[in-house]
């Protein structure tokens, strides 16, 4: 995929962007860079992203894998020696190069990290550094806790100075030396990979006294010399131990001999050991620093970035809101009645009136309440005139709710209808999923036999046929469920929809195909129905406010077109890329 890399901050931008989404630097003259060398790999972007072995968390897991300390202290050296040094670490570069198991995005991060060391993200740097170490570490044992490991070494050395000396003598060819010739395995491996011996390191070798800064090695040395306690890692482990599942507690603990499930602070001998001196090269220190930073970052407190909201944007937003509310209020207060002159009555509107007029006396209908409280105003204005018309011919109404508030909204709406007292109302309750409700209800209506002793169904329809169904819905989807189930299972009964304006446009094909008897949707529809009934209710006033709001929308769209080449604010982040 070609991207524009910002010369200022290194952020990726979509081709065609004029300025960087992150720092707003102009991208003019910046050439697009194809970051996906193997085009087809892009397809694998998200697909085969599996918890692969070569990732940072795996590294951390490897580092934290329980029980390995004992291996080190008791048989770790043999185990490490026994492992094929390249068994995994040699394979891994091949995997990386072929890219077979690497998702595109990860390959890109790595590629960028190689090409632009300075521009990669902090985490990516840490990941890379940590992965290098993981490759090393996999060939050997997994150290859970350097501090504990080092401490155990020191205790062991104090208890068995002869053994330590002996081991030191056995490893004369090794690169890094403590004064007693014992060195950490990871350090030895780093040097082995570098192909350097302690002799070759020459002037690069630093003594612990020379180490400055907040490095892992400095810290390790401080522990060695008793200047510091291994607090940070222990804290991390304590946090972790709190969150470990019970099942994980069965795994070996950090240090052999400790109680399961409890991570204890390792006792540190305050007395500085004599004769220990850690010598490391600058590269080694750098790598250790990165690893340290990565591990510490895992549990570090993360300050949230503050939200930056530009003042101009805020003023614009508030300005639009104030103007809109002012205009709407003015329209409502003026009480100016606008007479609807249009005669463009749509057939889907007239059909519902025709259906009501053709209803037999003593008709029974089902009304489904599928709208939320936020649409109460719109829906009640639309439904009231229709329900009022129904009162003349309907004797029984079944009420079903498929939204939570539908139960209450139905009572509220029906209570406001004149003549509802004489109608038999059957509340069928609430079904949390309208698809289940539609399917089940319409299935139940056609039953020819019953299961013996079956529990009462969640909802039941009358034994006799319904004369019609009215669905009051605020969404296209809510209506569509009823249309589809109605069509496939119950298509003899007329289905009428009274829906919010947002649901209307998508429902027209169902009217056109004859699956729906009628649709009342837009604000104009409501106005027409009311006009037809010769009743001037609040709609006339609302209509005026509605027109004002719509006109404001049209004006803003046109203004937006005029200002398109003169962007204000931070709109280039609107689509994020």
């Amino acid at each position: 995929m070609a991207v524009l890399i910002c010369p200022e901050c290194g952020a990726e931008n979509a081709p065609g962007d004029e300025s960087c989404w992150a720092c707003k630097t102009s991208l003019e003259g910046v050439d697009a860079v194809d970051v996906s060398q193997q085009e087809d790999r892009v397809e694998d972007g998200l697909d085969f992203v599996t918890p692969s072995d070569d990732d940072l968390p795996a590294l951390l897991n490897a580092l934290k894998a329980d029980g390995d300390i004992a291996d080190i202290s008791e048989g770790g050296e043999e185990k490490m020696a026994g492992d094929s040094p390249g068994s995994e670490s040699e394979k891994r570069p091949d995997v990386d190069e072929s890219g077979d198991d690497i998702p595109e995005w990860l390959r890109r991060i790595r590629q960028r990290a190689q090409e632009e060391k300075d521009s990669v993200g902090e985490i990516t740097q840490k990941i890379s550094a940590a992965q290098d170490s993981l490759a090393e570490d996999r060939s050997g044992s997994h150290h859970e806790n350097y501090a504990a490991w080092l401490e155990s070494l020191r205790i062991e050395a104090q208890q068995n100075p002869e053994k330590a000396d002996m081991e030191g003598n056995e490893s004369k060819d090794e690169d890094v030396t403590f004064s007693d010739k014992k060195e950490p395995e990871w350090l030895r491996k780093i040097r082995r990979e570098e192909g350097k011996t302690s002799d070759e390191l020459g002037s690069e070798v630093l003594s612990s006294e020379d180490l400055k800064g907040d490095s892992l090695l400095q810290w390790l040395v401080d522990i060695e010399t008793g200047k510091a306690k291994p607090e940070s890692l222990l804290e991390a482990e304590e946090i972790e131990s709190e969150s470990i599942d019970m099942e994980m507690e069965n795994k070996p603990r950090l240090i052999e001999g400790q109680d399961s499930g409890v991570t204890r602070e390792i006792p540190v001998d305050k007395e500085a050991p004599q004769g220990y001196r850690l010598e490391v090269s600058r590269e080694e220190q750098l790598q250790a620093d990165q690893l340290s930073a990565t591990i510490v970052d895992e549990t570090a407190a993360r300050p949230a970035r503050e939200t930056k909201i530009r003042r101009g944007k805020w003023i614009f937003r508030v300005g639009v809101a104030v103007v809109l509310i002012f205009i709407l209020s003015l329209s409502l207060f003026s009480k100016f009645e606008f007479d609807l002159t249009g005669d463009f009555v749509k057939p889907q509107q007239t059909a519902i009136i025709a259906w009501i007029e053709q209803l037999p006396q003593q008709a029974s209908i089902l009304i489904v309440f599928d709208y939320h409280a936020g649409f109460e105003y719109e829906m009640s204005l639309k439904a009231e005139p229709i329900l009022q018309e129904l009162m003349d011919s309907v004797s029984e109404i079944f009420v079903l709710s498929t939204t939570e508030t539908g139960v209450l909204l139905s009572q509220d709406l029906l209570d406001g209808i004149n003549g509802i007292e004489g109608i038999k109302l059957t509340h069928m309750g609430f079904i949390p999923a309208s698809n289940y409700a539609a399917f089940s209800l319409l299935a139940d209506a056609n039953s020819v036999w019953q299961l013996a002793y079956a529990p009462e169904a969640v909802e039941t329809l009358p034994q006799r046929d319904l004369d019609g169904v009215i669905v009051l819905s605020d969404t296209f989807e809510g209506s569509r469920i009823w249309i589809e189930q109605h069509q496939s299972r119950f298509n003899q009964v007329p289905l009428n929809l009274i829906v919010s304006a947002q649901a209307g446009p998508m429902l027209l094909p169902y009217y056109e195909s004859g699956q729906v008897n009628s649709i009342i949707s837009g604000w104009t529809d409501t106005r027409m129905i009311e006009k037809g009934r010769n009743e001037e209710k609040p709609i006339a006033f609302i209509w005026q406010a509605y027109r004002a709001g719509v006109l404001m929308m049209i004006i803003l769209i046109v203004l937006g077109l005029l200002f398109v080449s003169n962007p204000i604010g931070d709109e280039n982040t609107g689509g994020a890329r």
Binding site: G16, L340, A443, T524
Partner: protein, 205 residues
Amino acid sequence: MKKTLSIIFAVSTGVIVLAGYFFKDQLNPILVIIIDWGVLLLAVLGLIGLAYLLKSHVLKLFHREKGAFFSIIVLISFFIIFITGLAASMQNPFFRQLILNVQIPVEASLMGILAVTLLLSSFRLIRIRGWNLMSIGFLVSVILSLLLNLDYFQSDPGTLGRELIAFWRSLPFVGARGILLGMALGGLVIGLRILLTLDRPYSEE
């Protein structure tokens, strides 16, 4: 075992329900039972979800996180409604007023904020989408749909203007039909994928 049971449950339920479209009358009573069980499960899932919500607020309170005050408000509101609701019937006017006088103002006001948001976004339309066939179609459609809703354009029956308005009004549902058919195809294939257990979002694996 769990995997096998899951597959058996998914497939057998699906096949019975699907067969219900063909053998309507014969299978209806079983279908009603199956659906009822599904509704019961959904209800329990809803309660578990609510438990998640309450747990998060209790934890916020317990850890004295920033905004814990609002968690107290959530919990108090919850328990007031919960206790009142259990004590009173759903038809109780006081309970109805209590719920609706919170839900309607808040939801409708959020919708009002949405109106302002849409106004703002309409201003940025071309800046976000750029000039392309879809955005032009969108733009023209929004303006014309709104204008036609306002009743500003009137013409006598039988005139060209009338024909054009009628033609324009029919255009959105042309695309709608294509989208609906595409959705139906997508729904068919995705649904079958689950019934054939090619896709097992519920599975452990």
